[in-house]
């Protein structure tokens, strides 16, 4: 290996710098710079102008944030995402851990089950949204099965049910990914602990609660975090399933409003402010969840 001054300054393999340069440029151009630009935009009166045109974009302090926070549609969208998360996150954790646990024990048809759970995850949301529209239509299959129990107005046009239906759709769509995370985590739970538990006379349910659940806690932290971030990024489903966040904004998501204000209505500064607030919200929520879910680790 080369030593000496050059080696100490550049490292043993200066060619590595050349290898990572395209990636670093990509990260700077697509993540770092736009990130700073988003914050900049949110504090300025930023509007679309012809390329190359010199226009003044004055600093406006928190004006865009005031606009955003005093907009009832935005407040509603943030409230909607909370409804979404309250349904989606616990359901995701319980169902994916339960199914992963059953799958881990099952010998028969294992591949078949794994494939069936993962298929919705690998399929484009736009594709499966078509089927869900068909299924949850007012005269769709779900309602014909339910008969007189069918809700009126129907699922996706009912202001109380639209967001829960979207939340259940997303849970269904993403569950396969979380099942895989839990399956991987279950491999790391020591078999000895189960043996010890059964020696102590623990039943199946007790050993699930006392061995499995604590054993996969790091994975649970990850699942909760990823599900929260996915939920905060919600766009395609309200845009397509409920015709742009209907009825009357009951299923609008912050990203949907960000798109409408920022691009459709031509206020990128307001859109950027919504984005910044959304990220701050997700970070706060993630901190709270970490406290709550990961508490026994510390």
């Amino acid at each position: 290996m080369r030593r000496g001054l050059i080696g100490r300054i550049l490292g043993a393999h200066p060619v590595g710098t050349a290898f990572v340069t395209p990636y670093v440029i990509f990260l700077a151009a697509v993540f770092a710079y736009p990130l700073g630009f988003a914050v900049y935009m949110s504090f300025h009166d930023y509007f679309f102008a012809a390329p190359g045109a010199v226009v003044e974009r004055p600093f406006v302090g928190f004006a865009n944030y005031v606009t955003v926070l005093s907009d009832p549609a935005v407040r509603r969208a943030f409230g909607n995402v909370l409804i979404f998360l309250v349904i989606n996150v616990p359901l995701t954790v319980v169902l994916s851990l339960g199914l992963a646990n059953a799958l881990n024990a099952a010998i028969r048809w294992r591949t078949f089950f794994r494939v069936s759970y993962y298929v919705p995850y690998v399929t484009a949301s736009v594709a499966v949204v078509g089927v869900w529209l068909f299924l949850f239509n007012s005269n769709g299959l779900v309602n014909s099965v339910l008969g007189p129990l069918a809700p009126d107005p129907s699922w996706l046009v009912n202001s109380g049910l639209a967001m829960p239906t979207v939340a259940i759709y997303v849970t269904w769509k993403q569950l396969g990914f979380f099942i895989l995370l839990y399956l991987a985590a279950l491999q790391n739970v020591s078999k000895d602990l189960y043996e010890a538990a059964s020696m102590d006379g623990a039943g199946r349910w007790q050993s699930f609660l006392n061995v499995t659940v604590p054993g996969v806690r790091p994975a649970t932290t990850l699942v909760v975090l990823v599900a929260t971030v996915t939920g905060a990024n919600l766009f395609t489903e309200p845009y397509l399933l409920t015709g742009g966040g209907g009825p009357d904004g009951a299923s609008a998501s912050p990203v949907l409003i960000m798109y409408q204000r920022g691009i459709e209505q031509g206020h990128p500064d307001v859109g950027a402010a919504i984005g910044v607030l959304l990220v701050i919200g997700v970070l706060l929520l993630a901190l709270v969840e970490r406290r709550f879910v990961g508490r026994e680790e510390s």
Binding site: I9, L10, G11, A12, H13, V15, G16, T17, F19, V20, Y23, V24, L27, V30, F31, P34, L35, A38, M41, Y46, F48, P51, L99, A102, A105, F112, F113, Y117, Y118, V119, T123, A124, S125, V126, A127, V128, V129, G130, V131, F134, N137, N139, G140, L141, S144, V145, L181, L183, A184, A185, P218, V229, T236, V255, Y259, I263, P268, A272, L278, V279
Partner: protein, 272 residues
């Protein structure tokens, strides 16, 4: 044990039924939302819906666009991602730690925050609206794949690299002749994982393509869903036919290579 098996069966039904229904619905001449409509009936089956959706959105063209978008992302990730992953795993150079931490940091930046500034930059400043480059650019190198490449290159024995270096091989030829052939299965996994993202991506291509003949299938299908479908004779049949065409490549790849989606890389993510 019995109970678990039944639970798994019920689960599998819930997960697979919409796909079955997608296929049945796409073949029905008359949509039948009643319970009996979930079973195929000889007289009611047709490929007409596929012709109908093809008339409205040119499936071939849209599929080619999806293919170019996805192919560009995969190519970028393979070429630049393998270089970066190799350098991060095997080369000592100034700034390696910084790049590695930057890569981890990037993973937590939500793409949605970047949507508006990226739109302004790519569409307004660079004038890349309605272009493949503009579509591909934000996804060009998949950071998760770079991380996976790095993990695989790290697992190779150091003696291999030392021997090649003593023989005087350049780093590029070591990477190409020694390292890449040894991790070829991992590369396939990374390609498959990278495939799903752009193939299914909706928001970004939706934002930057207004020209119909440049839109990937997910975008054309959603436009059909929101606008044109009201005028078609059997809009659901046509939508479901389009949905089948959009779903088929990803689902087929997944079923054929399902083992590769599952094994090592995800578990390394959990343990990491």
């Amino acid at each position: 044990m019995k109970l678990k098996f039944v639970a798994l069966l019920v689960g599998a039904f819930v997960f697979l039924f919409p796909f079955y229904y997608m296929l049945i619905g796409s073949l029905q001449a008359e949509p039948d939302p009643s319970v009996s409509g979930a079973f195929p009936k000889a007289g009611n089956l047709t490929f007409h819906n596929y012709a109908e959706i093809n008339k409205s959105i040119h499936l071939g063209r849209s599929l080619i666009n999806s293919g170019i978008f996805t192919g560009g992302v995969i190519l970028g990730t393979l070429v630049f991602g393998v270089l970066a992953g190799y350098a991060l795993a095997r080369l000592q150079f100034r700034g390696r730690g910084v790049v590695f931490n930057l890569m981890l940091l990037i993973q937590v930046v939500p793409f949605q925050l970047l949507t508006i500034p990226l739109y302004v930059l790519i569409v307004r400043s660079y004038g890349l609206a309605d272009s493949y480059l503009g579509m591909i650019l934000p996804f060009l190198i998949n950071s998760t794949a770079v991380f996976v490449f790095r993990q695989y290159f790290l697992q190779l024995p150091a003696e291999l690299f030392d021997a090649a270096r003593i023989d005087g091989a350049s780093e590029l030829s070591i990477l190409w002749r020694v390292a890449v052939p040894l991790v070829r299965p991992a590369l396939l996994t990374a390609v498959l994982l990278t495939f799903i993202g752009p193939w299914n991506e909706f928001l970004w291509p939706f934002l930057i393509t207004k020209q119909q003949d440049l839109q990937p299938l997910a975008v054309s299908l959603s436009n059909y869903l929101t606008t044109v479908s009201a005028r078609a004779a059997n809009p659901f049949g046509a939508v479901l036919a389009g949905a089948c065409v959009l779903a088929a490549p990803a689902v087929t790849l997944f079923i054929v290579f399902q083992r590769r989606f599952i094994s090592t890389n995800l578990s390394s993510g959990v343990k990491g």
